[in-house]
C-alpha cells in the first residue's frame, strides 16, 4: 500500500482529476498525437512557439490518472522555457522513470519529482512518459502518431 501511496500522491490525484491547460489550441504551431495501445490512452499536445521559446502549451484527451497528471504538470512546467531547456527536461524526466535510481538528485525537476514512484510500477512508466514522448514528437516535427509500444 505504501508504494501505491507513493504512486498516487495528492498532486497526481489532483492533476489527474483537474488537469491544467486542458483544452485545444486553434493557433498552435505544433501539435502531436500520442497513443498508448495497452490502455487506450490517447492525447493531443498543442504547442505555441515564439522564436525559440514555448509561449503556450496545452493538451486534450482521455487517460488514466498518471498519464493525465503527467501531461498536466508538463504543461505547467514548460511555459516560457527555451527549446533546449525543454529537451533537457524531457531527457531528465524519462531518465528518472527508466534508468534512474532513487538516490539520484532530481530536485531540479521540481514538481515532476512526484512521478519518481512510477518507476516501481514498470507497466505504468508508459503512462507517465506518454505526454513527454508526444512533446518530443511535436517539437521535432514527427507526423506519425506516437505510440508507447
Amino acid at each position: 500500500m505504501s508504494e501505491l501511496r507513493e504512486l498516487y500522491q495528492e498532486l497526481v490525484l489532483d492533476h489527474g482529476k483537474h488537469p491544467r491547460n486542458f483544452h485545444g489550441m486553434e493557433d498552435a504551431d505544433r501539435q502531436s498525437v500520442g497513443y498508448n495501445p495497452l490502455c487506450g490512452d490517447k492525447l493531443t499536445l498543442y504547442l505555441k512557439l515564439e522564436g525559440d521559446t514555448v509561449k503556450d502549451v496545452s493538451f486534450q484527451g482521455a487517460g488514466c490518472a498518471i498519464s493525465t497528471a503527467s501531461a498536466s504538470l508538463l504543461t505547467e512546467t514548460l511555459k516560457g522555457r527555451t527549446r533546449a531547456e525543454v529537451d533537457q527536461v524531457i531527457r531528465e524526466f524519462i531518465h528518472m522513470l527508466t534508468e534512474g535510481s532513487p538516490d539520484d538528485d532530481v530536485e531540479h525537476l521540481g514538481k515532476l519529482v512526484v512521478f519518481q514512484g512510477v518507476r516501481e510500477f514498470p507497466v505504468r512508466v508508459k503512462c507517465a512518459t506518454l505526454a513527454w514522448r508526444t512533446l518530443e514528437a511535436a517539437l521535432h516535427g514527427q507526423d506519425e502518431p506516437v505510440t508507447t509500444e
Partner: protein
C-alpha cells in the same frame, strides 16, 4: 480426482462441483502476489492449467516424444497416435461429424486467418462483402480486413444495442446477395454476451453465406455442437479452456475444406513433390504444414478430459452463480456502471467506475493480488460503441469462488479510498 466424482452420464450431472477440490488441481492458485493470495479473475484472457494438463505434457515429453507421421519407429508411431487420438477427442468435443474436419492451428487467431486467406482468398471477389459484428475481437476483424483489401471486397459490421447484443434485424438486413462470409463470436470476450449463434447461422445460411463462429470464449463455458449450430467453421483456443498456449483447432465442414487451397506450404501437407507439380495431402493434413505442436495437442486433449470430467453443465451453473453474485455485489455499488447487460451472458463482468480510469483501478487491484484486465480487451469497436476508452473486466472460471468476488469488492473499497 475422478475417483470420488459421481459417474458421468454425458453432462447430466446434478451434484454441485466441489470447488475447493478443483482449486487444488491448480497449483498457481496457491501462490501469492505482492504478499496477498492470488485472486485470478482474468480468465477470459487465459485460464490456468490443472495438474493433469501439465503432467500429461510432461509425460509425453519424457516418454513418447518424436516427430509425427514420419517414422516407422515405435516412438514416432506413439506420438502420431497421441496426435491423431486427440483429433478424435476434439471432434467429439465440438460435435463434428468427421475427424478430418478438425484442423490443428495455433489458436483462434490462426484459425480465422486460415479461413480468411484460404477460403476468402478463393471465393471473395471485387464488390463482395464479409459481415462481422461490432462485438468482435480484433482477431475476427483484422484477418477479414486484410483479405478484403487484397480482393477488393468490403468488410461490414452489424451493430449492437445498448445492452451489448447484436441487433438481429440489422444483422439480417446487412446480409445481401454480395455477402459471401459471415463471422461472429459465440461469446464476446469484452462484454460476455452469448450470441444466439444458431439463429444467426440460420439467417446467414438461408441467404447463401458461409458462416464462421469464433468459439475462443465459448468452449470452457458451454457445450458446443457445431452440427446443431449449423456453422461451416468453428474455432477453438486451448489456452482459454485450461489447456496450453499456442494450440487450438479449426472445425471446417469437409466439403469446404476439401475445396480450399492450402494455407501454408511445407512438409507433412504433401503427397508428392516435384519441381513441376506438388500433390497435396487430403484434409486435415493439407492445412498442417511443418512439424506440429504435438505436446500442445496432448495438452489440449487433457484439457478436454478435465472439462468433460467436471461436466460443462455443472461448470456453467457454478459460473452463472458467480456472475449473478458479482453482478449484485460489484454492480450494486453506487460508483460502478456495468457495460454489457445482455440477457444471455457468460461469466464476464465488464464495468466502469465514475471518474477513475480502468488502468488506475487495475494497478490498485494488482497491489491486492487481484488480477483483472483493464483495457480495451482487443475489441476497440466495442469500446467505441460505448464511448469509453477501456473497461475493467473480471472474468470467472470454474475454480473461482464467491469469496474472490468479495475480495474484488474489498479491492474496489481501496480504489475509492484513494480516488474517492
Amino acid at each position: 480426482m475422478q475417483a470420488d466424482q459421481p459417474t458421468m452420464d454425458h453432462g447430466v450431472e446434478t451434484t454441485p462441483l466441489d470447488i475447493a477440490r478443483i482449486r487444488r488441481e491448480f497449483p498457481i492458485l496457491r501462490r501469492k502476489v505482492h504478499g496477498k493470495p492470488l485472486v485470478y479473475l482474468d480468465n477470459a484472457a487465459t485460464t490456468q492449467r490443472p495438474h493433469d494438463v501439465v503432467e500429461g505434457i510432461a509425460r509425453y515429453s519424457f516418454r513418447d516424444n518424436a516427430n509425427v507421421h514420419r517414422g516407422v519407429h515405435e516412438l514416432s508411431q506413439t506420438a502420431t497416435a497421441h496426435y491423431e487420438g486427440v483429433r478424435e477427442k476434439v471432434r467429439d468435443f465440438v460435435g463434428a461429424e468427421k475427424t478430418e474436419e478438425i484442423v490443428y492451428v495455433r489458436g483462434t487467431t490462426e484459425a480465422i486467418n486460415l479461413v480468411a486467406a484460404s477460403y476468402g482468398g478463393r471465393h471473395l471477389n471485387e464488390g463482395d462483402e464479409v459481415l462481422v459484428t461490432q462485438l468482435e475481437h480484433h482477431s475476427n476483424i483484422v484477418p477479414w480486413q486484410l483479405i478484403c483489401e487484397s480482393r477488393g471486397a468490403k468488410l461490414v459490421a452489424a451493430p449492437i444495442n445498448d445492452d451489448g447484443e447484436v441487433i438481429l434485424d440489422e444483422f439480417e438486413r446487412l446480409i445481401g446477395p454480395k455477402t459471401k462470409i459471415v463471422a461472429f463470436s459465440h461469446i464476446s470476450n469484452a462484454l460476455g454476451t452469448i450470441n444466439p449463434v444458431e439463429r444467426m447461422t440460420e439467417i446467414a445460411k438461408s441467404r447463401g453465406a458461409v458462416v464462421l463462429v469464433d468459439g475462443a470464449q465459448a468452449t470452457a463455458h458451454t457445450k458446443v455442437d457445431v452440427r446443431k449450430i449449423g456453422c461451416d467453421f468453428y474455432t477453438v483456443s486451448a489456452h482459454k479452456m485450461y489447456g496450453p498456449m499456442g494450440i487450438g483447432a479449426l472445425y471446417g465442414r469437409k466439403e469446404l475444406l476439401d475445396a480450399m487451397p492450402p494455407y501454408q506450404g511445407g512438409g507433412d501437407m504433401i503427397r508428392m513433390v516435384s519441381f513441376e507439380k506438388t500433390l497435396y495431402s487430403s484434409v486435415p493434413h493439407k492445412f498442417e504444414a511443418g512439424t506440429p505442436n504435438v505436446e500442445g495437442v496432448v495438452g489440449l486433449g487433457s484439457a478436454i478430459d478435465f472439462i468433460t470430467s467436471l461436466g460443462l453443465d455443472r461448470m456453467a451453473e457454478h459460473e452463472h452463480d458467480l456472475l449473478a453474485y458479482a453482478t449484485e455485489v460489484i454492480g450494486g455499488r453506487p460508483e460502478v456502471r456495468i457495460v454489457g447487460t445482455a440477457r444471455e451472458k457468460a461469466s464476464i463482468l465488464s464495468f466502469l467506475i465514475d471518474g477513475v480510469h480502468p488502468h488506475d483501478i487495475g494497478t490498485i487491484l494488482d497491489g491486492e493480488g487481484i488480477a483483472i484486465r483493464a483495457g480495451h480487451h482487443c475489441a476497440q469497436p466495442v469500446m467505441d460503441r460505448f464511448g469509453v476508452p477501456a473497461t475493467i473486466r473480471a472474468s470467472f472460471a470454474v475454480y473461482n469462488t464467491r469469496e474472490e468476488v468479495d475480495a474484488l469488492a474489498r479491492g474496489l473499497d481501496k480504489v475509492m479510498e484513494i480516488f474517492g
